[in-house]
Symmetry: C2
Subunit: 290 residues, 2 copies
């Protein structure tokens, strides 16, 4: 590649794929880039399927999301993004199967952030809030700037995608986000954040003790019901399905017209390179329909 | 149809489908019949896909199961049987995705009989074994002859199918079945069975009291590990994922190379007309790959 006379560019790459005009071509996006997502529609129009781990398109304005899905359908190609929620867990495909077979999604309750679940499983009298956030970063569970996880925006994107795949027209700014860290921590620089985060340790330890004394645990929960989506911290007791959610696991519960008295439940690792790669690969196989 | 001069027969029906030679034809089998399953190969050879709720083919001799799968692959058509295990739950598709993306199944632990789970959730000091079996029949949970459920044969077929889809060559007579009712109950007539089953009530109540005193519950569990599949009664405590398995729900746990420290878990209704019909319909959509 170094010896090539061509200058690499995203549009140039797209043009080359289109020019090749190969049957059953697939564009695989493992970035988190808005710019890469912006060429999906053009590729789909050229009969190229998209398999993506990138949430940018499915969580963009509804109009754009719907347009991309419509284009794929019209062209008879695929737009697959199973790994957008819960990595390799069968969360979006199962939702699609339910909706396509005529079921109606009544409620979604889910823990969709491995990072936040790790933090709330790790925080203790010995390991205060600031330290657990640092650990999450050091272990590679969080984004380089952990505020992307802590702000709830990543979880909000995921419940947005599930609500849309359930058949609801909903926008990102309609998701109600209940933050558990003051807004001021999200406005300054990353340096400021790391300097100040430990100032919350004492207040959090008081709250944590109270929750622990009631035999409860904190879970950062995403919920969708009656057209309303919200994300925030919830205290769950030992009888709640979220209580035993170990490590950085994810969990989704679908209450539907058919799965009503007891919801359908899917649980497992919701992040990590190997399970995400497996999910992307499974989507790829789905495109070729073998 | 009554006015037709044609005499209806399975082979005649197969011949007509083949003669029509329609693109993307699908044969849907919602029977439990060996005879119907015996024409799958012939249909697949004529490029007709099969979607089936019938376990007969997938749990027949390995040679036949493998031959049917091979035929579908060679002809580029589908042989789908998601509802063979857990009705509409994404149990087989998820297993296929794991295996196709290069994961290795290390262990399967599952509760796969809604009937037996209902029985062990209902049995109590007031409702003895014989009565719970009658209830299961009256509520339509069990087969007309409940011995098909009680014998463990139905669960054995399901774990056989999961083991095969995991990539293992295994036959039905290799599944170890631990029965919780004496063999003599399975040899006589159905009338004999109903006459005699309550004679076991006292013995079961003694055992039940012991299990309850230890804060445990009975679950009829299917397990596959190291190439060995077995089904039988297990006592589980409150910390076990099977403990809170309500009503006639099913639950599957996959421990794989990638989902290792914590298994992937799928739970929900595993039987019933509406969720099974939905699973068949989802398979049908998969054939047309929309």
């Amino acid at each position: 590649l170094d010896n090539s006379e061509k200058v690499s560019s995203l549009q140039g790459f797209a043009n080359e794929i289109k020019a090749m005009n190969i049957y059953n071509s697939v564009f695989v996006d493992c970035t988190a880039s808005d710019v890469v997502a912006s060429i999906y529609k053009e590729l789909l129009q050229s009969n190229i399927s998209i398999v993506t781990a990138n949430k940018a398109a499915a969580s963009s304005e509804y109009e754009n999301y719907a347009e991309i899905k419509k284009t794929a359908k019209q062209k008879g190609v695929k737009f697959l993004f199973e790994t957008n929620v819960g990595a390799g867990l069968p969360i979006i495909n199962t939702l699609n199967d339910l909706v396509n077979s005529g079921d109606k999604i009544l409620k979604i309750e889910a823990v969709l952030s491995g990072t936040l679940n790790f933090i709330f499983n790790t925080i203790s009298a010995d390991i205060p809030l600031g330290r657990t956030i640092k650990m999450a970063k050091e272990l590679g569970y969080s984004e380089p700037d952990p505020r992307i996880d802590l702000s709830g925006v990543d979880v909000a994107r995921k419940i947005l995608i599930l609500a849309r795949e359930s058949g609801y027209r909903i926008e990102m700014d309609e998701i109600v986000i209940h933050r558990f860290i003051p807004d001021s921590f999200f406005t300054g620089s990353a340096d400021d954040f790391w300097k100040n985060i430990s100032k919350l340790d004492n207040e959090f330890e008081q709250k944590r003790k109270k929750v622990a004394a009631e035999n409860k645990k904190w879970r950062f929960v995403a919920r969708f019901e009656n057209g309303i989506a919200e994300v925030g911290l919830q205290e769950v007791d030992a009888k709640h399905p979220f209580y035993d959610l170990e490590g950085s696991n994810n969990l989704v519960m679908y209450t539907t017209e058919r799965y009503n008295q007891f919801p359908m439940l899917i649980k497992g690792y919701g992040a990590g390179a190997s399970v995400t790669a497996a999910g992307v690969f499974a989507d790829l196989i789905r495109v070729s329909n073998i």
